[in-house]
Symmetry: C2
């Protein structure tokens, strides 16, 4: 949703471009495969994996077919092999440096979230505009002034930024991020960000999710 126009590419390898809906599910498959692997399961059918990922098995097979033919008919998929292939396709076999701006409650929660580290992301800096937060240590990292963004972004070649500031500050932060060469932004502030077309933005809005639930809840009550 809300993707910037996908420029037609004909790169030598991995030429196929994967539908957006599929891309959004690949991380779910990856997580399910990791769980299976930890349970010592070496092979699984599309049905097994589909159940673990909470999707339809036909959809799963179609999704995987965009990556290539990594299964064996009559047998299924090798869990670790498929896991690697998906990780490679997503791009999480390498490590992505990430900066988090806005170290309030949410920013701290994100900084402490171990799921990032284990999934190919490394938080290289925590930034906050509030001088009162300076020198605080969160998740083993010192909170730095927002103005350090340029230096840190270049130093670590940061391509991905997370915005966890109040709504009022978010657009400014986004502008500065874009100016530093950051081209992917994960935005938690409840505001529509204005960025150039080549920059990807994904938003997570907690109250929107609740409102969607409320809508359906209201409907349930209407007939009960």
């Amino acid at each position: 949703m809300e993707r910037a126009a996908v420029t037609a590419r004909t790169s030598p390898e991995s030429a196929r471009d994967i539908p957006e809906a599929t891309v959004a599910r690949l991380p779910v498959y990856l997580r399910a495969l990791t769980t299976l692997s930890e349970q010592g399961i070496g092979t699984c059918s599309s049905e097994d994996l589909a159940v673990a990922a909470g999707v339809n098995s036909a959809k799963l097979r179609k999704d995987l077919s965009y990556l290539g033919s990594y299964g064996t008919r009559g047998v299924g998929y090798d869990v670790d092999y498929l896991r690697y292939q998906i990780a490679r396709e997503i791009g999480v076999t390498q490590d992505w440096p990430v900066v988090i701006v806005g170290i309030g409650n949410l920013g701290q929660a994100l900084a402490n979230y171990s799921g990032f580290r284990s999934r190919g992301f490394r938080v290289v800096a925590l930034l906050d505009a509030d001088p009162a937060r300076r020198d605080e240590v969160v998740a083993g990292l010192e909170v730095r002034p927002f103005d350090d963004l340029e230096r840190i972004a270049h130093e670590h070649s940061v391509a991905i930024g997370v915005i966890a500031t109040p709504a009022l500050a978010a657009q400014d932060v986004a502008d500065r991020m874009v100016a530093c060469g950051i081209t992917s932004i994960l935005n938690f502030a409840p505001i529509v960000l204005n960025v150039p077309a080549q920059v990807d933005v994904r938003k997570v809005d907690l109250s929107i999710e609740l409102q969607i639930l409320a809508y359906h809840e209201q409907r349930k009550g209407a007939t009960a």
Copy 2:
């Protein structure tokens, strides 16, 4: 996505059922209208609102048309009137009691998030299984033992629950919630929840969002 089968309804009023994609955008429109209203703007065109919400104006008009005809041709929409109509349709003109389970970093961030209160949600209890957290006060609420869930859920007629626990505990929490009559769950744990069909689950997974960004980021790099 992942909706339980929508039972065909022919309720007397608000009989039309609104497409899921539209439901997901209504809260965005609501937020944009609130911003416009705070700026003292009394009337806006679909184009104005579409820009504020970050969507196509045709899509916006079609979305609104599912609610009814609340605009005036040649003029536009009355901001406050439309805002009320959308709020009513979503169901946030009433107050929804919410419980949050798992008062770690993320749970605290959620408890402190003012956006809930201002958008029709009231956090009535914070629950945590860890006895060490007992008696802690977060966002003006005492953290209570998880076993109080039944009592609190019934006392406040809670229909919506938020899970902010580690992955391992999440399924148990969900089961208990369902047993208490909670029929809408917002899940932050990185796991696929298993719930009866009549229960709505929405999931927010931080690392999945980052992985989607990483995929596109990798593609950008491939041609640059």
